[in-house]
Subunit: 103 residues, 2 copies
Amino acid sequence: MENTEEYALFGKMTAQPGQREALLSILLQAAQLVSTAKGCHQYLVYKDTQHQDCIWISEIWDSKADHDASLTIAGCKELIMQAMPLLAGKPERTELTLSGGKR
Amino acid sequence: MENTEEYALFGKMTAQPGQREALLSILLQAAQLVSTAKGCHQYLVYKDTQHQDCIWISEIWDSKADHDASLTIAGCKELIMQAMPLLAGKPERTELTLSGGKR
């Protein structure tokens, strides 16, 4: 159990029909890229069971500043550029603070 | 990096006005209760930054069966009963499989 106030983020992306696996592969590369970034505690990628084109991510960071800084990591912009044409619409995001629990 | 097919769940709850902290306290107790349950890898509780009545949870389990079994743990039903009257409407849930990433 913890009682922190870390910054967390849930993202939901919808791929163009048939492009979920390609998008997933890019997001897993992004996860690897930011895994050693300052303040990154978690970056997980999931497939939605009910919606075959949907992908979710969950991120936990020391701060929003650390998250924002990660977007400038070498290679990150390239992955975003690769992902963009695979998306059907704008990603949705929910900003959170982590209250606690098991991890 | 991992490439598993664990069962994951995101839940979103909206508390009655002014009841978020009370609901949060119950969910943190639930997290503690299930933290040692068979197959439980993660159970985190978050506050939504944009919506002052919203709470999110993220869970990762070996399987849906392990998750479902956890609902029968002693004390779990009592916590659900405590939480119910604090909710404004039905909780939303998204069922997922974990594809990988950093944790």
